[in-house]
Symmetry: D2
């Protein structure tokens, strides 16, 4: 699937106790760049000071040789994020560095805090000021608000936070990594010799030589210090409820989530999608890049040829000039091309990973028909998304979700498809595991009332 609408995705990476940590972290963050290309930052400590470099832009634009050379230290904490056009403020670029009298610390977060507004209101009423709107600043305030040693402060802060999040705090000689008790957002930890690496996705570890890795447990707070690592449980022992859409769209195929490989889950989705197929068509075309695993498996299961009928243009970066509405009217299309010689005269199973607002689906069906496909059967390798996400992923509101507005028949007509079918919810649950959060599909929000916040 190719999304054009902004979402609040982000990723964090951190390295504790490694020579020239920032330079190694650069490659870790680079492997997480698919989770956000709009802003990036790294804080670094040499055991004395905490320095930070961050800005709007892609990682490689901000961190050039001269800048990396100055981030010389033994631990580093970094962040990449996707920002909406309305939120380009530097104050929201992470990590946030707190220059407190008992010592500086840096913090980076992913996810969302559901009671953020209430916490901010209460703290502002107490005279605290907020310079941005990031959760990182909020959690920093909350940590600093409580007395005691940093560990105790973080534990206290966590007890007030409601939401789905992960964060890492770095001081000049310690590091804390936390994953919210619901485990909706991923967080991983690995050992590489005497060094520890933390990252939002396990695929980031393949940048380095690592000895072992594991997922941070839901509710687990890990403290890294010179004396070693300690783990503290803040949750109730419930299993993680990883976001099902991580498997479908967000995560890299080479990442693991709760012992499942993302690519393998996508293949399972494709296979189960095939099992319920009733229409006969000639070829299978997958939407690059995220739907290709499912589409290939779907084709294999149906014993139909898997064809590369859609080509994605690379080289669309931040300086790329997008065609105007008028130019698009005139036919200028730049992101995806259909290959006429493949689809002409064919009945096409067009497999996408998911369907949110339906804009992409509509354009794809149109492309297929223009390229000469005689029939287009849209197949979505995940269930209908009919409920808004309240856990910090998709920002589309209920009223914008195609599956909440239209029946399948209406969608068919709207998109110009000959048929449309979604993966069945039960089948999908088999693929992603019973614990995965599927609130956007079935409306079963755990802990949260989507209208009024946390239950």
């Amino acid at each position: 699937m190719n999304r054009f609408e902004p979402q609040s995705l982000s990723a964090l990476g951190a390295i504790y106790h490694m020579n020239d940590a920032a330079r190694a972290l650069y490659y870790v963050l680079h492997s997480l760049q698919h989770r956000g290309q709009d802003a990036a930052g790294m804080a670094c400590t040499d055991g004395e000071r905490v320095v930070c470099e961050k800005n709007n832009g892609m990682l490689s634009e901000i961190f050039q040789e001269g800048v990396l050379a100055e981030l010389n230290g033994c631990s580093a904490l970094g962040h990449v994020r996707l920002a909406s056009a309305q939120d380009r403020d530097l104050e929201n670029v992470q990590p946030i560095v707190v220059r407190a009298h008992q010592g500086h610390f840096a913090i980076a977060t992913t996810g969302t805090i559901q009671n953020a507004a209430a916490l901010r209101d209460a703290m502002e009423a107490d005279g605290l000021i907020f310079q941005g709107v990031s959760d990182a600043e909020l959690i920093a305030h909350l940590i600093q608000f409580y007395p005691g040693h940093l560990f105790e402060k973080i534990m206290q802060a966590c007890s007030k936070l409601e939401g789905s999040y992960t964060f890492v705090v770095m001081t000049k000689n310690t590091m804390y990594a936390m994953r919210s008790p619901d485990g909706i957002h991923p967080l991983w930890i690995a050992q590489s010799g005497a060094s520890t690496v933390v990252a939002s996705e396990s695929a980031a570890f393949t940048m380095l030589d690592i000895d072992s890795m594991r997922e941070v447990r839901p509710g687990e707070l890990i403290r890294l210090g010179l004396e070693g690592a300690q783990s503290f449980e803040t949750g109730d022992g419930e299993p993680a409820r990883p976001c099902a859409m991580e498997y479908v769209y967000y995560a890299r195929p080479d990442s693991m989530l709760e012992n499942r490989n993302v690519h393998a889950v996508r293949e399972d989705c494709g296979i189960l999608l095939a099992e319920e197929e009733t229409v006969d068509a000639d070829i299978v075309v997958g939407v690059p890049d995220t739907a290709m695993s499912a589409a290939a498996a779907f084709a294999r299961a149906l014993n139909k040829p898997y064809e590369i009928g859609l080509i994605k243009n690379r080289y669309i970066g931040s300086t790329y000039i997008r065609p105007s509405a008028q130019q698009r009217e005139q036919g200028i299309r730049t992101r995806l091309n259909a290959i006429s010689s493949i689809v002409r005269g064919k009945r096409v199973y067009l497999v996408d990973d998911s369907l949110v607002k339906g804009f992409t689906a509509k354009r794809l069906c149109q492309l297929m028909k223009e390229a000469g496909a005689s029939e287009v059967h849209l197949r979505i390798a995940s269930p209908r998304i009919a409920h808004p996400c309240v856990y910090g992923y998709e920002e589309a509101r209920a009223g914008q979700l195609a599956a909440a507005r239209y029946t399948d028949e209406e969608m068919c007509q709207l998109f110009g498809a000959d048929s449309i079918r979604f993966l069945d919810e039960d089948a999908f649950r088999l693929c992603v595991g019973p614990a995965s959060c599927m609130a956007c599909m079935n409306g079963r929000y755990v802990d949260v009332d989507p209208k009024n916040g946390r239950k």
Copy 2:
């Protein structure tokens, strides 16, 4: 396949008689950016003057909104190219604009002129000066050298050129498009309403609404003027000998070449490669992006699961800091990742599109083994490349070509593969057609003695 060594690839695009031609050409060139990301340029005419903007860098870095706004005109000619580190001189960036007293013209070329040195020597002896080393400047000189009307001058120039090339010349009110008689390098022409579009690959036309398109014939010179298009034959009527490696690696899968779709040819290669398979393995892994068509077809033919076992990192642009040798030693890998969960314990068919120097093959086999593959069977969906290219594509010398230096057994050992197999030459010829140039595979150079130039 992922190549790291520079090659002299390039592409041209041109639009005759269209409103705001440069802006439309921007998208045409963008779709050709895979043929060169090191320099780009566009010349444009409003019927009065010929202006030109070009520089080192990617298309979208050079052409930003303000620059495009100034390239206001009714015809435009553009170029993208891949440059070696040794050749970053601005003088070689195309188009070249000639400001002659009988009128300005711009020229852009692809391919290579085999008798370039002799022509330059002769012209320099006549007092002409060269500011760069591009073929575009050479052809400009040759055109200008002959008397008469521009059409006659171009015809005369072509009669002196020996080589495999295409070029487009644009004046303030005409345009000429030429493809060399051997037809090794591709050139396409399309109609879009009253406008004519010329491009190195047919996939570029999908950016616009077009009514019809065809390949420029070998030896054909097309003249576009306000009175319409005229075609002149300069060749001997022999069929084109398109570069076989265009199908294998250079062209986009959604392009056509001599009535063959590139993706379809790649699939054919995969199928024929499968027919001769003798080893039994568990899964098929293709090297992204160019080998994926062949690998998927290979898997289908063998009825083996096609798995996405290698992930390519996007976001590696010109500002990206490559890891140092020392960092690579420490395990920092950034371009391709193998997915352990997929390949661990598996016997892998690793399918690549071609094998030139063998560096990539060696690294890929290593990645597979480190990720836990029990066996790696390297399968190349094209024949051994054992002879240098003299037609302006691959720059590797004979002594650098793996298949010229090693037997298959030696390659196996060198790469750490358990077996290696190439597509048979006859089988390959069935896929790319009998006329295709396969000189780099079989050493049969037509017209050219690879040691002494043109026969």
Copy 3:
């Protein structure tokens, strides 16, 4: 004088209630750019939101056409500053925007808060967090800390602040401008039709058509709202004690300070310096740019020719590559040139405005001698600086001040001058007025114990 050492200088500008306020403010800030070229920012409000754009770099690098176009509003607040190499953190770039639940506000400051550390400690102990080290963030915290309406909060905050400062606070519909009771740092206010303009120097007003202007009184807090301007006194009615070095070096010659024109004060210094002259020399050479007013007046008073014997190189910006130590050894000099044809064989009065560490003086004497001057008589148009500044201007420590370390004779020898003379303290006081702060010259610190902070 040409200074090479970083100082903590800065300037602010603000416009209340003007069409496209940010664009006009751009020119106001541009006229204050001499007070800081390292970072710049503008916050802007359209009556609904407060948006902010800021970064490291010069004003014109940060604010290009596209950025200005987005800062569309009716009021704007901006800042430029000089930063040390150690303080390039984005968190310290102003304005600071506070996103508080009772409404957003932006703040920018100049000067220094002497009890900053104590205030920070107290607030941190209360759980507040600081992301940077700027006074703007400190004052923002302090304002937010107190209850009540914004006006009351600011009044309360001011009652806690000890130091020499100015600040402006901008909300979506009001603006507050404050100058500390000591009046050491300048702040001006002007009317331009229905709009009000605030700036650190009066010269900034010449960018716009203004009807009237006046200096903000020491201790005065001005509130600008839709119902008009109101003034509140927070001080004790003591007259301002403007920094004497503003007249000597910091301010533009076309600025006013406490009813004195800066250029005129510099001329007075030159005239009084001449009155005590005992040495006879041939020509007067002033150090560009800041010493030229004094030097020209000095020459006139002595009836000696004023010669342009030193030329300053323009075009030394942030991307300029400074010569290495080795290159300077080899004679590469780039900032100032002496004109041999003017100084050769001449006895030169070399007039500089002030002397801090003595590095510049030494280099200038050397340049003069190399250019052939037979004698160099160094004349400083202000008294010896032998005490550190505690009011937020010069950052040199006592141990670095030439006049604190050396006698005049030692300086002569050190610099290679034939004589050295400073303007007498009493004479200087006549020029700058009796109220001006001369603590760096005479050690008379008002309100502050330079060792222990505020008395």
Copy 4:
């Protein structure tokens, strides 16, 4: 004077036989940057190859550390130029490098070739091509056109060139420096140990330690080789006719021209201007920067106070956003400020160095009156400019020259001045020497018929 209209000014610098020549040349070119900030380039040779880096922009923008590091060689040739908005083509940026079969060479020029069109036409008729419109390309063609050794070729080329120019040619082991027989454009040569330095102004030599320097004679061709320097005369032995406006406006005050220091000539102009003064006024104000030498001397001669009544804004670089016409109407003025406190109620002698189109003069008189001057007496320290320049300096056409269109009385009225007076032509000739070219003042064009080209 401050000019806003583009002119075709430029400067060249070259270093023969010096360690890391390009780095030293960087500083030489930097000191010539006042002659052109729109484009810059350096060619460099290591004795084997000639490489070149050039682009639009200021020297320090194009040559950053990484670029300089790659220009490693023993000789270097550079150029800076001022370009009109219509001429931003990269093809015209110098040096031009010619890659000829008998060896590469680089060439850079200043000035103008009067028979350029005729030479181009003839060469184009012979089949040569021009990619730009620079004289450098023209001379390169002409050199290459003739047979024989490079020295002979250059001698032949010079015999065909009509015009006022200088050029330097650099091969991998030799360098040639040429100044046209009329000597209108300046060229200097200096020794620095075993190295030779060539530059358009003598002030450029002060960047380096030099042993001796002299002006290249009119018509002199100097050849630098490993065996030493040789000089050849191509002229008729007539003395140089240096452009009188070099003294007035173009050259740095610390440069020498035909044994006259520029600053000293400007002072002489000011003194002679004072001798004919008939009006009594209170203060003298000079227009920064170029009129200040004359203004200060004028004041001294009249025994009137020289006041700094106009302040120039620095920091106006290429990224600076100029105020729109509408904003200027609203009073936004950014380049020059008048100091009210100095000029209010005063009768002002406003001294500028020259008057071309009169736009600046008008604005300055207006500024003075707005600042409160009771009378403004405009004094121009050079004669009326009433004839176009045909020697490659000022580009204004006859119809644009104020002194060609208006009487003094009309100018007074137009500018809002109370009186206007120019320096008498004979007096001016005393200052600049009898040989100086004053064609733009008196219409006496030597060698050239301004309507029809060279006589």
